[in-house]
């Protein structure tokens, strides 16, 4: 396991803990998006580029859009 993978997994673990612990919900959603992007790079390192594209487009794109829309609907952030 190279140093690059160690850094990626460290960022993922820190992000997973931080997205639960952070008080502001919008920050939590953005940290979750960073976690998802790191997960996409890890899939690419594990020789699964198909999974990486799906994770990057669904996990970092559409899921974040839906979370932000839900926050706007609950009036937790300004329009």
């Amino acid at each position: 396991m190279t140093l690059f993978n160690v850094i990626l997994i460290a960022i993922m673990i820190i992000g997973a803990i931080a997205s639960v612990m952070v008080k502001n919900i919008l920050s939590s959603v953005i940290i979750f998006m960073v976690y998802s992007l790191m997960m996409a790079i890890v899939w690419q390192q594990l020789n699964a580029p198909d999974m990486a594209i799906t994770e990057a487009s669904v996990g970092a794109g559409v899921t974040t859009i839906l979370f932000v829309l839900a926050l706007r609907k609950m009036r937790m952030i300004k329009k």
């Binding site: 198909d50 799906t54 859009i65 829309l69 706007r72 329009k79």
Partner: protein, 145 residues
């Protein structure tokens, strides 16, 4: 929040996103990607267009009626083509559709039309889910006239 800067940047960015999504759909059988991944990329491009340009302009550009018609026709054609392939495979005559030259665009037999239909269905479904989250209903009064 709608400024001239965002409108002009999105005007440049959206064709590039859509070309990349169409590439991922069309080359799903020889490179990473496929119908679901490319469809979600295309769907997020249409969602971005709706957020920047507003719902009335987008409803004129992508009318609800035609989107619903497209997704229904794509689902029916996907189901009938895939079911026909299963039945033909049971009788051992699934070699009717030519396989093509390996590692070129025309290879993989019936995977290209199946990927295109999955891409259409996923694109429009993600777009509809985002509209439902944002506005609570799909069809507006000004769109139904």
């Amino acid at each position: 929040m709608k400024t001239k800067i965002i409108e002009n940047i999105v005007k440049i960015l959206i064709p590039l996103i859509q070309v990349f999504g169409i590439y991922v759909i069309l080359f799903g059988h020889i490179s990473p990607g496929g119908g679901f991944a490319g469809g979600s990329i295309l769907g997020s491009s249409i969602i971005l267009f709706r957020f920047v340009y507003g719902s009335e302009h987008t409803d004129k550009k992508y009318p609800y009626k035609y989107l619903m018609r497209t997704v229904s026709i794509a689902l029916i054609m996907y189901g009938s083509l895939k079911g026909m392939l299963f039945i033909l495979d049971h009788f051992g005559i699934d070699k009717i559709i030519p396989v093509g030259v390996p590692n070129t665009f025309l290879s993989g037999g019936s995977i290209i039309p199946l990927n295109i239909m999955i891409g259409l269905v996923v694109t429009i479904t993600f777009y509809f889910i985002a509209i439902l989250f944002e506005e609570g209903e799909l069809e507006y009064e000004h769109a139904s006239e």
